[in-house]
């Protein structure tokens, strides 16, 4: 049992290494990854009377959420188009391990691409944040949930647009009810209920605590727990949908 888990983790790590090499840590993807949060930050910051520190949770939440899912959602569809997904499927590895390995690569990218600009901005603006450690934990779990979402949506996709369209349909409306631009308490009550079900809401809330000290440690722990649950749930859905795709051929 223990040996089996170690074996699957080792295989997932190899898949993550391969995906990172091919899709994530190439010069254009890294450049786009760094460019995107800068644009997002400026969109969020310009015209609002916010200090850099006050804008940081929004920047970090959007970057973690968008970068973690954007590339990952294309990886399976691209591999199907290129014929390399069949090569992977012919190897002795379970579908859950494949989904997990791909999610690790997506997570590493999301975590790195979010952490670098946040650290640079904190350093340049001399901002004081409440807890750098909790900030890294918040970014990590947000990137993980986001990577899982990308995997769940792309598992049966044969072309990139088949995965990208549902991803945008889900994540763009999520931005407006996650407490990023408007406090959740100011939303109509039925939207508040939906907002608390959204992973991005928990990303925003956890980062607001880690950077600004808003809310409480208990809320932070609930946020992290919900994000972890979402990551596991999304991975299970990804594996199930991959299995379903094997029935269709």
């Amino acid at each position: 049992m223990g040996r089996n888990i170690t074996d699957n983790l080792r295989k997932a790590a190899r898949i993550a290494w391969k995906d990172s090499k091919i899709y994530y840590f190439s010069a254009p993807t890294v450049m786009m990854g760094l460019f995107l949060p800068v644009l997002m930050f400026l969109t969020f910051w310009i015209g609002r009377e916010l200090s850099v520190c006050e804008a940081l949770p929004g920047l970090a939440a959007l970057t973690a959420f968008f970068s973690g899912s954007s590339i990952g959602v294309t990886a399976i569809a691209l591999e199907r188009t290129k014929g390399t997904f069949d090569t992977q499927l012919a190897m002795p590895v379970s579908l859950l391990t494949i989904a997990f390995g791909k999610a690790i690569a997506s997570f590493l990218y999301g975590f790195t691409i979010t952490t670098i600009p946040v650290v640079v901005l904190v350093f340049l603006s001399q901002s004081r944040i409440v807890s750098p450690v909790l900030l890294l934990i918040g970014i990590a779990f947000s990137a993980l949930a986001s990577a899982g979402l990308g995997m769940a949506l792309s598992a049966t996709a044969r072309h990139v647009h088949e995965a990208m369209t549902p991803l945008n349909v889900i994540r763009i409306p999520m931005m407006f009810i996650s407490g990023l631009f408007t406090p959740i308490t100011s939303l109509p009550s039925f939207l508040q209920g939906i907002a608390y079900l959204m992973p991005l809401t928990h990303t925003v809330s956890s980062l607001q605590y880690a950077i600004l000290g808003q809310w409480s440690m208990e809320t932070f722990l609930v946020n992290i727990g919900v994000l972890a649950l979402y990551a596991v749930l999304f991975l299970m859905i990804a594996a199930k949908r991959l299995e379903k795709s094997l029935e269709k051929g």
Binding site: I15, K18, I22, D86, T87, E247, K248, G249
Partner: protein, 325 residues
Amino acid sequence: MDAINIDKLTKYYGDLLAVDHISFEVRQGEFFGLLGPNGAGKTTTIRMLTGLLKPTSGTAHIMGIDVVKNPVDVKRQIGVISETANPYLEMSVWDNLMFAGSIHGMPKGRREEQAENLLKLLGIYERRDEKVENFSKGLRKRVTIAIALVHDPPLLFLDEPSAGLDVQSARMIREFLRKLNERGTTIFLTTHYIEEADVLCDRVGIIESGKLVALDSPENLKAANKQAKIVEVSFGSYMRKIEDELAQLPAVDMTKKRGDKIQLYTSDPSQIVQELSKFAEEKNLKIVSINTLTPTLEDAFVELTGFSSLDMERMEQIGRLKKWR
């Protein structure tokens, strides 16, 4: 224990029956070919056997392991070279093999040794550090073969291995497969190149509309083919008018153009030879060559499926055009 044992294997795509309750076994060390026209169910069968597709019903065992219940264990026993599977183009040849070896759980030293041997045998060792995207289709196929064999599997599946390859690459791959089989590896091959199956396979299964319609050695299939007594004649160059006149001879059932030669299908070859010499004398033609041909595997295939290899090539081209569009 059989290398492959299939019992009533069936696959539906919605209402479409793609593979219809097929049953057969492949012995260890055998070179087995599954022949059939496009859409007959060859690829669906091979995808079910390699765990890339779930059967609707029936069972399949690879080296005694159930394909549906233990797909990961099955994949440890097999190498797969599918028409649709490609190496990772963005990675080097060497990295592709190291990745595959590591997923198979091979220690670093062993996978390096195995990769070196395979790449030398396939003639691409010197280019091991190049990205696969720089390679031609034939060289990419060699990389795919190396990936499939890096863990030294006892059973190799090949789906249309020479489709779209130049003559030299196809010949090289056939020679490699023959040597691999001589060394003891069981090979399961699907192809629409009938000659390829004829020269490589110990036994051939013919599949048509999802049903297995024949299963025997190529020689037995040829011998069982009651049609196809053929006399081939050449008058130095082909003339349409002559073929039409030959078709009118009493003993001739059918004629076919084969390059500069004309094939005459008959149930009585000796009668044809007499009629031919009289025909040549009357028309003042010189017979350059005359041969009685034995039935080919293609003749048996045509009789069982109604498709010729030319039909299959056309269908293949139409399929490619549709994909391209």
